[in-house]
Symmetry: C2
Subunit: 201 residues, 2 copies
């Protein structure tokens, strides 16, 4: 069944596509209109300006993606399970939306930090939850100590960066598309294993 064939929806989808690979600055309203199969004026009818359209798209993406992840992170699953589940979700999501990471990172550089801060997720992701969890495991002698920020950075880096660097990776190392996908798929379990190994006392 078709998902909302309304013009407004088609515009937003087209905009998402274009913004995603060209970025705000590189995107052209005309291209979005073409891709949506409608007139350029209609863009402005539904979304007043490029800025607003972008904001709508960006907000949607951020809202759908980041909170889910961060919330999982601060859940109270056991550390190891959490790592495995998160990796799973990351690979699922990012395989589907490969240019999301690069898009978010680039656009975050110029402004919408306010947005992200306004967006409930801002400022106050509680790293202390993870830190406590780590400390507990350390106490029990299950893992060696690590600070929450370093832990987070390591994990998120290994999950997200390969997708952000996909082009470079395939380009420089001459890795084929299929092989790239296979490698990413493997990371679903390889990264958690890698991390848990690293944490062994």
């Amino acid at each position: 069944m078709m998902t909302q064939e309304t013009a407004e929806y088609k515009i937003k989808e087209a905009a998402k596509d274009v913004f995603m690979v060209k970025g705000m600055a590189g995107a052209r309203m005309q291209e979005i209109a073409d891709k949506a199969g409608i007139n350029k004026a209609l863009l402005h009818y539904y979304y007043r300006s490029k800025e607003l359209l972008f904001k709508a798209v960006f907000e949607g993406i951020i809202k759908a993606f980041i909170p889910k992840m961060l919330q999982l992170f601060t859940s109270d699953l056991p550390l190891e399970a959490k790592v495995y589940q998160m990796a799973d979700k990351y690979v699922d999501f990012l395989s589907e939306h490969r240019e999301m990471p690069l898009f978010i990172l680039t656009e975050l550089r110029r402004g919408p930090l306010k947005l992200i801060q306004t967006l409930n997720i801002g400022g106050l992701i509680d790293l202390s939850v993870i830190q406590r969890q780590i400390d507990e495991e350390v106490e029990k002698g299950n893992i060696r100590p690590i600070t929450a920020p370093q832990f987070m950075l390591n994990f998120v880096s290994m999950m997200v960066f390969p997708f952000a660097a996909g082009h470079m990776f395939t380009g420089i190392f001459g890795v084929s598309e299929e092989e790239f996908q296979r490698i990413m798929e493997a990371r679903r379990t390889e990264v958690p294993k890698f991390i848990m190994n690293a944490l062994r006392p």
Copy 2:
């Protein structure tokens, strides 16, 4: 002592600054001219077009950065030493040029893959060198097996991503600028340790 106060040089420096944070699409020739303290026409006098100017800048950056790294990677230092030295170089370089990663990644997405391939570094970085090195250590019982691509991805991810995501990181977790720097500095040794731990049999 002043480094080359010639107009041509000042232009390239200004261009580097502007391109670096705004990207090719977002950069404005006027802004570059202003920043260089010269007339806009002079940009075209030295570098014919925006595209050419960008290419000059981009090429310079890529040429200075990537090959050095990759070459170190394929050197025949012992694996552990290599990891430590690379991490060192990464932190040195990226602390100095924080927006380099994001810049390269974004711009690589739209075209200059040819450039990177032309640029000797392309296509044929020999992962087999590392793979062999890994295999040797495995043979000796020093580390557990891992494929070279996964190893590379893990390492490069942990080194580069935090810089690419600097804005997001400080924004979302409310980490201060100084703290961010301290954390990055710590990674100079934390990441190598983390990796070597993970590889312990």
